[in-house]
Point group: C2
Chain length 150, copies 2
């Protein structure tokens, strides 16, 4: 038996927050590290974000904390454009959003997950790669993120 | 600066489920592994569970999936006695419950977290160690689990 994504190693635990400066400061204190740089996802022309099959101007601010050799906690503060981030933050409040896996062959795995009942929610590009969120709530009780780096 | 818990390495991502046989089978298929053994937390005399400062007879069934060198996904199906598991499952439905860290000195860290505004929710014993859940929703937007192995 092979893992459906070709891997079983998680690389990220994603957490939605309303105020990334504030929560990032709390995490920095908790982990005893300097407050990390804040990133922001690309402008629409670069990110080419699609949410539920439609282009979206959504962007998010991000902060990363190392919590293992290959694992980060990612804090995500979305804007108010349509996205899985904004939907879940509005619906469920702050907290867990996804676990992520690095894959090799994004389109193949998008198809595999769609067929397996874990439909694509959102996708986009970042410098050097791309991501996709799939809704695995029915089977795995969470959202999966696939990351592919060129 | 030191990490508050003496570590920044997560060892577990905990997921609440209603039907552990069913969801464990879905995870086994997803990761391409045999369905793992199901565990059950100890009887009350062994587990000495306390939830919100009071003894509880709560027990849970558990299944573990390796998702990295030192990280597992833990599926948790609680019974209907009072616990953070049952509370969160009733309140939020299936899905993410906690991230866990292995600590050395449980009582010290219980005190440190209580003082830091992350109060003890639940604690108990297991063969060879003990656990404690702390409510870090205010600051970190999640529940922490501390694990101490003798």
């Amino acid at each position: 038996m092979e893992p459906i994504l070709g891997t079983n190693v998680i690389t990220q635990v994603g957490i939605l927050v309303n105020d990334i400066e504030k929560t990032s400061a709390e995490y920095a204190k908790f982990f005893g590290v300097p407050q990390p740089e804040l990133f922001i996802t690309g402008v629409p022309e670069e990110a080419q974000t699609e949410y539920l099959g439609k282009p979206s101007n959504a962007r998010a601010r991000q902060a990363f904390f190392k919590v293992g050799p290959n694992v980060d906690i990612e804090l995500i503060e979305p804007d108010h454009e349509p996205s899985t981030w904004r939907h879940d933050l509005d619906q469920n409040g702050e907290g867990f959003h996804h676990i992520a896996f690095v894959v090799n062959g994004m389109k193949k795995y998008n198809d595999v997950l769609n067929v397996a009942g874990m439909p694509l929610l959102q996708k986009g590009e970042y410098p050097g790669g791309r991501y996709a969120y799939h809704d695995a709530n029915d089977s795995l009780k969470l959202i999966l993120e696939l990351l592919e780096n060129d």
